[in-house]
């Protein structure tokens, strides 16, 4: 039986959650920004080895500036979480540690990746300095536009929750 795992992707408005999923699932990108409403579900099968696959059921939750308002019903049974922020908009990562605490209180044992997206728009060395100054730790810096490390990020999470 093919293993299926639920991944929840969340974060503030317009940080590129849907674009990251689209890049991972369809390998495409669009500049047209459409606000996600409610939840959108997609699926991607990742292959670790021959005949060793996993179905990732990706829950793309609508963006919110108040992470604590995310419906608990959407988080039930989650196997992995991706918290996305926009590296070009400090408002999306200023309260990152508080946001992460809220998520961990809802899903204490669930693996969580912190992802800074839109890295193609900044100088990475400057960003690293900024993060260091603000005590921000990320697992991945991605670009849904160029595809940079998007697949790696989801693949690593899949390996972790296998």
């Amino acid at each position: 039986m093919q293993l299926s795992k639920k991944i929840v992707v969340l974060g503030h408005f317009g940080v590129g959650k849907t674009s990251l999923i689209r890049r991972f699932v369809e390998n495409s990108f669009s500049d047209n920004y459409k606000v996600s409403i409610g939840v959108h579900i997609t699926k991607k099968v990742v292959e670790f080895e021959v005949e060793d696959t996993m179905s990732l059921i990706l829950w793309d939750l609508e963006g919110t500036d108040e992470i604590k308002t995310i419906r608990d019903a959407y988080l039930l049974g989650t196997h992995g979480v991706v918290f996305v922020f926009d590296v070009t908009r400090p408002s999306t990562f200023q309260s990152l540690n508080t946001d992460l605490e809220i998520i961990k209180s809802k899903l204490p044992t669930t693996p969580l990746f912190v992802v800074g997206n839109k890295v193609d728009l900044v100088v990475v060395s400057e960003l690293e300095t900024l993060f260091k100054e603000n005590n921000i730790k990320t697992n991945f810096l991605t670009s849904a536009k160029t595809g940079d490390t998007v697949n790696d990020m989801f693949f690593e999470l899949a390996k972790l929750i296998k």
Binding site: M1, K6, S55, W59, L76
Partner: protein, 281 residues
């Protein structure tokens, strides 16, 4: 030289060039007059210009006239709704009439069958139950069919097994979306221990039967009466009792206890098929 000759000589000196010039103009005007008066010659000159202008005009219609035409049409539709409905009515009427005729034909066939083969059966049923024969016939005509059954893990929305009569979009995604809808409704109304039980859309109904760890979604087409609901619930409970109660707790437990015997998805689906494929509701 006489006075007259002198004047003539002076005129020659003064007007020779002008006369040549005037003659040339007169010749040119003559050619133009001839061109205008003779259609063929005029066409030869003018047709390529008109043709070019027409081509340009045709090319520019969408950009130049398109918005104006659209605006005019919108305005006309707004002003003359009734006339437009009048104009469309016969077309729609024909389509509806054709559909109704087809349905009546099908109904008539069913009634004929009922009246012939099962006539006596219905008569007996009517005598014993006290229900009118017509009502029994109509009740027999309202058929509902199980189209799809999904066994879904509560919370995560992960699909455990499925049975489907026809191919649909990815069942893993359907399971996720059903779970999201179910979760949203149950969350939004804030009623503890209450479950979304039915989703209706046009000719289909999705019956949702919740258990502790899983829920079963059954897609039904046709008339979903109380009697049909009762039968669907019986089928689901039978399925759950027969199979899930014995095996699923160990099958999908996440405690990593490998000693427990796990049941394959294929086996689960075989059971679903057996239970629901030929079920009459």
């Amino acid at each position: 030289m006489v006075e007259k000759d002198k004047v003539e000589l002076l005129r020659d000196i003064l007007f020779t060039d002008d006369r040549v010039f005037v003659q040339k103009i007169a010749d040119r005007i003559g050619v133009i007059e001839q061109t205008i008066e003779e259609k063929d010659k005029l066409s030869e000159k003018v047709d390529p210009i008109i043709s070019k202008q027409l081509d340009d005009f045709v090319e520019e219609i969408p950009t130049k006239l398109g918005p104006a035409i659209t605006a005019t049409l919108k305005e006309e539709i707004r002003k003359n709704k009734e006339e437009i409905v009048d104009a469309l009515y016969p077309i729609l009427g024909k389509m509806i009439k054709k559909y109704i005729a087809q349905e009546i034909k099908m109904l008539s066939n069913k009634i004929s069958k009922q009246l012939s083969a099962k006539r006596w059966n219905i008569k007996f049923k009517s005598w014993f139950s006290g229900v009118k024969e017509e009502e029994i016939i109509i009740s027999n005509l309202s058929v509902s069919t199980i189209e799809q059954v999904l066994l879904i893990e509560r919370g995560s929305g992960i699909l455990a097994a499925s049975y489907s009569k026809t191919k649909t979009i990815d069942e893993d995604m359907i399971s996720g979306m059903l779970t999201a809808i179910k979760g949203f409704v149950e969350d939004a109304f804030g009623q503890k221990n209450q479950n979304l039980e039915l989703i209706e859309y046009e000719l289909y109904n999705i019956h949702l039967q919740s258990f502790v760890s899983y829920y079963v979604a059954v897609v039904i087409s046709g008339n979903y009466s109380l009697e049909a609901k009762d039968k669907v619930q019986d089928l689901i409970f039978d399925f759950y009792d027969d199979f899930m109660g014995k095996n699923l707790d160990s099958l999908f437990s996440s405690d990593g206890n490998e000693k427990k015997e796990k049941v394959s998805r294929a086996s689960l689906e075989k059971q679903l098929n057996k239970k629901f494929e030929n079920a009459i509701i």
